[in-house]
Symmetry: C2
Subunit: 463 residues, 2 copies
C-alpha cells in the first residue's frame, strides 16, 4: 500500500475526503483565526495548503515548530479553497512533527537564493522550487528516453565505465588506479610497472560507449547506451562537467538519413513527453528562468528540422550580413556562433548539418564518395547550438584501417573494433546526446551544474 502523494491529492481529491500527507514545511503564515502551512513532498511544484484552526487543541504548541524545512504528517479534511490558484486545501485535524528545522541555522529561508549559493548546499538545494522542478524534469526526460527506445525494440546496453581504450583518441581522460600513489612501482627501465595495478595496465574513465555499442549493434541490430561518461577537460565553464550522462543509440542496417530521422523523432518525443508529464514545472521555467522555453519546445515538436550539408552551411554563413568573431571557411569547424546563427536566425528552427570535412571529424565516420567529407550529422538547436552529434560509421575494413593510421593511431589497439568489419560488417549509424545539455535546453537553466544532482568539475567534488 503506497502512501498518497501531494501531486495526486491536488489533482484528484474531493471535498470532505479525509487524507493524510507527509512532507516538509515550505512556509508558515499566521493570521488571527488560523495559520496556513504550505507542505511539499517533492511530487509537484505546488504545495498543499494546510489550514490550522486556532480551535485545535494545543494550537500554539503545534504551530511553533512548523518552520521552513520541518517535516510533518498531517491528517485532515479536504475543503474547497477560497484562495486563487488552488482548487483545494487541507483542514488539519491532527499534525505530527517528525523533525524540526531551526530557523536560525537552516540555510534555506523564504528569500530567493542565488544558484551559486545553492551549489554550496547541494544536499539541500533540491528542496527549492527551481531545483525541484529541474530534477523532476530530468527524471521525466530520462524515462522518456527509455520509453522511446524500448517502444522501438532497442535494447539498453550497459557499456563499460572503466576502459583501456580511448574512443576518439582525444585524450582528456581521468585515470583509474589501485596503485599506491605514495610509492608508484617501477620496472627496471624506470617506467611505471602496471603489473600490480588492478587491471594490470593503464585504465581510464570512458569518454563514450560508442565503440562497445557498435559491438552490441552487430548482434542485436538496435541498441542504446544511457550512462555516465567523463572528460578531464580543465574548463571551468557553465557548459562543461567532468562527469555527465550520455545517450548513444547505435543501429545496424542504418544510413545517415535514417540516423537523422531517428534523432529528430527522438528529440520531438522527449520534449513532448516532458511537456505532458511536467506541465507545471515547464510553466515555472518559462515564467521564472527563461521565457522562451515553451516556445522552444513547441518549435522542436512542431517543425520539420532543416537539413543542409556543411558545404551549404558555409555558403549561408558567407552570405550572412552578420559579423562573426570566428572565420568562416570551408574546412574550418563551425563555432557556436555559426551554429546558433543557422538555427536561430536563418532557419528559426533546428537544423541538421551533414557531410563535414574529413579533417575535423573522428576516424570512425564513414568516408563519402567525394573523399573529402564524412557522413556525419550535427543537430543545431536555437539558443544552444549543437545538441546531437552523429554519423554513419565506416563499415569498410580497408578504409577504416587507413583512417586509423592517418590519425596516427595504431590499428592493433582496435583489433576487436576492426573485427566487426571483418565478420559480417553492415552499414550502421548512431548518435550521441549529452543529457545535461538537453536538460539545460529544456529548462533554460544557464549553468550545467544546476541540472545534475551532484556536479563534478575541476576542484569540485562535494557531496
Amino acid at each position: 500500500m503506497m502512501k498518497r502523494r501531494i501531486a495526486e491529492i491536488l489533482r484528484s481529491s474531493q471535498p470532505d475526503e479525509t487524507v493524510t500527507v507527509r512532507g516538509w514545511v515550505r512556509t508558515k503564515r499566521e493570521l488571527k483565526e488560523f495559520a496556513f502551512i504550505e507542505v511539499n513532498d517533492g511530487s509537484s511544484m505546488a504545495n498543499l495548503q494546510v489550514v490550522l484552526d486556532r480551535s485545535l487543541p494545543d494550537y500554539e504548541d503545534l504551530l511553533k515548530p512548523l518552520n521552513t524545512g520541518a517535516s510533518v504528517e498531517v491528517t485532515g479534511t479536504v475543503v474547497e479553497s477560497p484562495a486563487k490558484g488552488q482548487r483545494i486545501e487541507l483542514k488539519a485535524s491532527a499534525i505530527a512533527l517528525y523533525g524540526e528545522s531551526d530557523p536560525e541555522t537552516y540555510p534555506l529561508q523564504k528569500k530567493r537564493h542565488s544558484f551559486e549559493f545553492l551549489r554550496t548546499i547541494g544536499h539541500l538545494r533540491s528542496r527549492t522550487n527551481t531545483l525541484g522542478a529541474v530534477f523532476r524534469v530530468r527524471n521525466a526526460a530520462s524515462h522518456a528516453i527509455h520509453q522511446f527506445f524500448q517502444e522501438r525494440g532497442f535494447l539498453w546496453m550497459h557499456t563499460p565505465i572503466i576502459t583501456a581504450s580511448d574512443c576518439e583518441g582525444a585524450g582528456e581522460m581521468l585515470a583509474v588506479t589501485s596503485l599506491d600513489l605514495n610509492n608508484v612501482p617501477r620496472s627496471e627501465d624506470g617506467a611505471i610497472d602496471y603489473t600490480n595495478d588492478f587491471f594490470g595496465k593503464p585504465a581510464y574513465l570512458t569518454v563514450s560507449g560508442q565503440l562497445e555499442a557498435e559491438v552490441m549493434a552487430m548482434a542485436f541490430s538496435n541498441v542504446y547506451t544511457f550512462g555516465p561518461t567523463f572528460r578531464a577537460e580543465n574548463s571551468n565553464t557553465s557548459r562543461h562537467l567532468a562527469e555527465f550522462w550520455m545517450v548513444e543509440p547505435e543501429m545496424a542496417f542504418c544510413d545517415l538519413t535514417e540516423d537523422m530521422d531517428l534523432a529528430e523523432a527522438f528529440l520531438k518525443y522527449v520534449f513532448k513527453s516532458v511537456l505532458e508529464n511536467c506541465p507545471e514545472d515547464m510553466e515555472f521555467f518559462n515564467k521564472r528562468i527563461d521565457d522562451s522555453v515553451l516556445a522552444t519546445a513547441d518549435n522542436i515538436i512542431n517543425n520539420e528540422f532543416e537539413r543542409i550539408t556543411y558545404t551549404e552551411a558555409i555558403k549561408y554563413l558567407e552570405k550572412a550580413s552578420k559579423k562573426f568573431e570566428f572565420p568562416v571557411e570551408w574546412g574550418l569547424d563551425l563555432q557556436s556562433e555559426h551554429e546558433r546563427y543557422l538555427a536561430e536566425e536563418l532557419f528559426k528552427k533546428p537544423a541538421i548539418v551533414t557531410d563535414y570535412p574529413i579533417e575535423i571529424k573522428a576516424f570512425y565516420m564513414r568516408l563519402n564518395d567525394d573523399n573529402k567529407t564524412v557522413a556525419a550529422m550535427d543537430i543545431l538547436a536555437p539558443k544552444i547550438g549543437e545538441i546531437v552529434g552523429g554519423s554513419q560509421r565506416e563499415e569498410r575494413l580497408d578504409v577504416l584501417e587507413r583512417r586509423i593510421r592517418e590519425q596516427g593511431l595504431n590499428p592493433e589497439n582496435y583489433w576487436w573494433y576492426l573485427d566487426l568489419r571483418r565478420y559480417g560488417t553492415v552499414p550502421h549509424a548512431g548518435f550521441g546526446l549529452g543529457f545535461e545539455r538537453l536538460v539545460q535546453f529544456m529548462t533554460g537553466m544557464t549553468n550545467i551544474r544546476d541540472v545534475i544532482p551532484f556536479p563534478r568539475a575541476p576542484l569540485s567534488i562535494d557531496f
Copy 2:
C-alpha cells in the same frame, strides 16, 4: 519508418506476405533442391529460416558466401513452414550480401563454445544463442526496474560516480586521478600534493549511491538510483565484478516493514515482467543452462516471502540437522550456506531476515530499541543466497553521530549527511540490489562475467 525485425515477423507475418529482413547468417544447410539459411537479427532467440531455391538466378554464387556470421538482406515471400517448431519460413526472391565472414577464421563456428573461450571474444560473443538471450533478459529486467519505480512515482536520480566519500567506510575503492603517475607531486612534508589533481583532493569510484539517494529522498520522498558502482576487491571469483550495476531505492516516511513490502513487490514485478517479455529466452535457460530457473521464477512470483528475525534465524540454524562449515552463533554474520539453507531447505521460498546484530552492519542502519540490533533486512533467495540488502536508516541525529564515532569514522566528513537529520529529518528506508546477481539468478548463468556485456575484474579490462 523502422525496418521490420525478425521477432515481429515470426510472430505476426502471414503466408504470401512479402517481407525484407536484415541480419546475420547463423547456419547454412544445402539440400538437393534448395538450401536453408538461418538468419538472426538479435531481436529473438529464434532464427528466420530462409529457403533458397536452386531455381534462383546465380544460385551457386549467391549461396557461396552465406557462411556463419555473414550479413545479409533477404527479400522474399512468407510461406507456412513444413518443419516442426516454426510457424513460417521465408522463400527468398532476392539476397544481398553486406559483409562476408571467412569460415576459416571466424571464431564462432556451429559447435558449442565454452563460456571461458567466449569471454576472450567479448566483441563477438553476443552473437551466440546464450549470450544473446542473457542480454535480452538483462534489457527486459532493466526496463522492468524503471517501469516499476516510475509507475509508483519514484524519480530516477543520477548519483555521482566519482566521489570523495566512502559510503560504508569499507575501503576497497579505486582511485581516480589526473596526476602524472610518473611524477607524483609532493608537498613540503613529503605527502602527496593533491592541489593539482583534477578534484584537488583524493577521489574514488563510488561503492554506493545510497547517501546521495538519501539526500534526494529528503526532497522528493521516493527516489531510486540505477547505475554503475565499483569495488576494488581483489577476488577473482565467479560472483564478483569490479564494475557492476546497482539499484538503490530510497523512501522517506518509510519504515522497515514498508521497505520489505516494496522489495518483495519489486522482485515479483521484475521476474513477472521478464517472463512475459522474454518467454523464449527463459525457456532456453531452463532447458540448456539450469533446469530450475522457471521454477525459481514461479517460486518468487507466487509465494509470500517468509519473514523472520536474525535471532529466529539463528535458532533455526542451531536446530538444523545439517552440518555447516561455518559456526552458527548469535552475533556472527550469516554465511552463504546458512542463507541458502534457510531459503532453499527450510522455507523453500525467499526469506527476509531482519534485525541483525549492530556489530555486523553499517553505521547508518537504525538502532532498534533493544540497543543490540539494527533495523536491517536481507532477502535470501533459494540457490543464490542474499539478493537484496536494505535497512531503515538512522534518522536521529544524536544516535547517528554516536554510531559514526563508534565505527572510528569522523562525523565532520559526514556533515551534509548529518544535516539531513538536523533539518526536517524523517523515518526513511531503502535497499540495494546488485543487478548482475539478479540477472544471474534469473538466467542460471554461473559466472557473473557472462551477464554483463564487458566485465571488469582484476587484470581484466578487455574491449
